[in-house]
Symmetry: D2
Amino acid sequence: MSKKPVCLILGAGAGIGGHVGQKFAEQGYHTVLARRSDEEGLKKLVAQIHEIGGTGSGRLINAIDEGAIENLISDIEAHEGPIEVVVFNLGAQVGNQSLEETSYKTFELGWRMTSFALFRLAKTIAPIMEARGGGTILVTSATSALRGNAGQHSHAAAIGGRRMLCQSLNAELAAKGIHICHIYIDAAIEAPDTLGKLLGDELYQKLLAERAHGKDGMVIPKHVAETYYHIAHQHRSAWTFEIDIRPFSEKPWWNS
Amino acid sequence: MSKKPVCLILGAGAGIGGHVGQKFAEQGYHTVLARRSDEEGLKKLVAQIHEIGGTGSGRLINAIDEGAIENLISDIEAHEGPIEVVVFNLGAQVGNQSLEETSYKTFELGWRMTSFALFRLAKTIAPIMEARGGGTILVTSATSALRGNAGQHSHAAAIGGRRMLCQSLNAELAAKGIHICHIYIDAAIEAPDTLGKLLGDELYQKLLAERAHGKDGMVIPKHVAETYYHIAHQHRSAWTFEIDIRPFSEKPWWNS
Amino acid sequence: MSKKPVCLILGAGAGIGGHVGQKFAEQGYHTVLARRSDEEGLKKLVAQIHEIGGTGSGRLINAIDEGAIENLISDIEAHEGPIEVVVFNLGAQVGNQSLEETSYKTFELGWRMTSFALFRLAKTIAPIMEARGGGTILVTSATSALRGNAGQHSHAAAIGGRRMLCQSLNAELAAKGIHICHIYIDAAIEAPDTLGKLLGDELYQKLLAERAHGKDGMVIPKHVAETYYHIAHQHRSAWTFEIDIRPFSEKPWWNS
Amino acid sequence: MSKKPVCLILGAGAGIGGHVGQKFAEQGYHTVLARRSDEEGLKKLVAQIHEIGGTGSGRLINAIDEGAIENLISDIEAHEGPIEVVVFNLGAQVGNQSLEETSYKTFELGWRMTSFALFRLAKTIAPIMEARGGGTILVTSATSALRGNAGQHSHAAAIGGRRMLCQSLNAELAAKGIHICHIYIDAAIEAPDTLGKLLGDELYQKLLAERAHGKDGMVIPKHVAETYYHIAHQHRSAWTFEIDIRPFSEKPWWNS
């Protein structure tokens, strides 16, 4: 049982999830990294936390399994410490799929991974946080939460609904001390575990060559982590509910 | 088999669905009214269509049943006529429920009734409409599609996601001649079958006494039907994707 | 003095203004067409109204002149009839201008032509309409009212402010029976007097060749006029505050 | 001539402007505080900067005077140092005024103080910043930039237009290294120089008693200053264009 406050990262790959975890660990949080697969990768992320003198653990869970999120939370609360911050970093971006290509299964999975999973998380953690006087839930989101687009039938429906859920949760929970923030990344992210896998290695390396490597034309996760940490530590007289993130060189969604 | 174009109303109670059905029937559409329950009420609506010299039929279906929407469409196409207009009028407003009160089942049902049902409808009807050069899908929506609020966890997530789905569908289908319009009603509606049942008779009568009966302070379905009909008949050089509806005396959601 | 209700078009060229005027005249309104220049063009528009058996008049005014809008209204009220509908069709689109190219004068003129002119109109006509129990103000707007973009410094600031003014006016005036609707055209319009002049004849003809002439890829004013007329005649239990218009083949601003 | 980078605060009272100035001074910026009146108050703010070991100066200017902003910038650039950050903190909130109460003069002044003043600032400073490879412009805004409301005719038109201007500036300038952020405060602020004067002392003290003094129910400027500073120092791969600020206990504008 850690004496530190716990930061739980749901969806901790080598992109935003992992880097936000590092940042919180570095700042004194006991950080629990949860992800669906790649035990090797997960161990590496936990090892990095230990290397900088932090504490934390890794969990392999499939968030859409019945009880998975619920049990994870009670287990952490029982054995690791009180969860003060949750970074909800699950997404279900499947790339561009036409209506014909998008199966019922994909559409349902998108909803289960993002909207329903956040609802389950909130149902489970909100009473615990409320009893302790507060807590923080940071939700990583994307442009499709703000506007649907061709090929985004499943993704936009899932995370657009989740954004409205965040507003509903905020309307009930903020005054009880629970800070919810919808952080939407409006650009490609340097994230080998998500964008890298979505595009395939060749395309991903091409994208990096064009925009990354000193050009700062893709979102760099370690820098975004600074903003996550800042938001989680805003004074309660000055909370933010929504914030957009994109590279300087990227057009915002409303212009592109 | 009707020689008329078909207008299908999914969710045809004695409110917007029923009145929009009447309007289209009156204007020469063969109108199919589908709803989940109340065979008596459904027969009455169909009878009203016949009384004004229109043609149409009634169907009792539970839209969330597997295959229900898909079979309905193929059946109508096979036996009644080509569906030119669909009015998607299904909702899952459950009144105000706190996070604690909102069950997983309610949350899932909300999504199945609104977001997933529209997706299933679109997957089924879009290729048919596209092959015929076009069609119209009008989606009845509500304020919670635009902003979440306390007690709206399930409803806002469901219809907020559906709004983003409408934008995604529009991005793919508009140029193929399929007109999608998200019509959101930003006020209480004179609708005994939905609001009436949600509030219970006493509260509903009280509301009517305060705002209806000549005061026009609640949305009157037969008048909204005029706007549905207008939207469905806009020239393709001047289509509308989104429109709000409220009584003159009601504050818009952004002011209240 | 006409016994008909008056429809005043502020900004009546051979595009939306002129065609909306025709529509209202055809439906029995005494229609006053006001524009800044081109007496010849104005006479032609008035003649077209007379040809279809309508009544109306033309006024050459520069709306930004001190007192011009105010005097126009009192003059019409005194000599032509009670103004029931105003179509506020003034714009100040100056094409794409970088920050460097946009002069203080242009920026101020943009504001005077759109935001301040509507404010002056509203101050003048609202008390008159209110005393008569109601009226309608339809404001033609454009995409830049919803999002700023490169080269739109002046235009977006002017009409973005005007949109917020429309919401403020609506918040005060709707319950008094004054229907305000912000109609934004999210595409190029077949309008020789505005887009034609902005682009120059060669480019405008090229655009027409690509998108108009049976392709319906530009907004056709006479079809938009139907929607203006519909909005102005919505029952007060079912008013619309905002509506978007674009051709079927055009991507909405949130997708392009 | 300071060797430090300069942070210019336009609109530096004892609220957000003053506290943001303190924060930047504390972090090593030479801070120039500009305001319209109250030389005494201005001296006090500059003295506070010196007390914490910072450097800075105070300027009394009326931003709407011809050339005032332009001359201020060239004077600072010539005599104090290179302006790296501008905090544009001018507002023109005049309290609730009905349409009848709002004079043409008030409406014009609102525009001059907020929208036009930012345009003049941007025209003047953007080329200088661009030549140096970048800079930051943080714009303090308010709820009326997002939605108009009763009594906000002047204020909403002015700052709603300014928000669209910010988007237009961002579309042109971000890729040139100039970070623009629209920070909107969606609640009452503990600011004796603005809200205090607007409400009068009695009402303001009443509001403080109800919501401030340990309740954190009003925005506390020194805490907001942390977020301004954070935004100004985001890595260019992860910039924010818009952020909302309100106390935990306050309903967002979309819910109230």
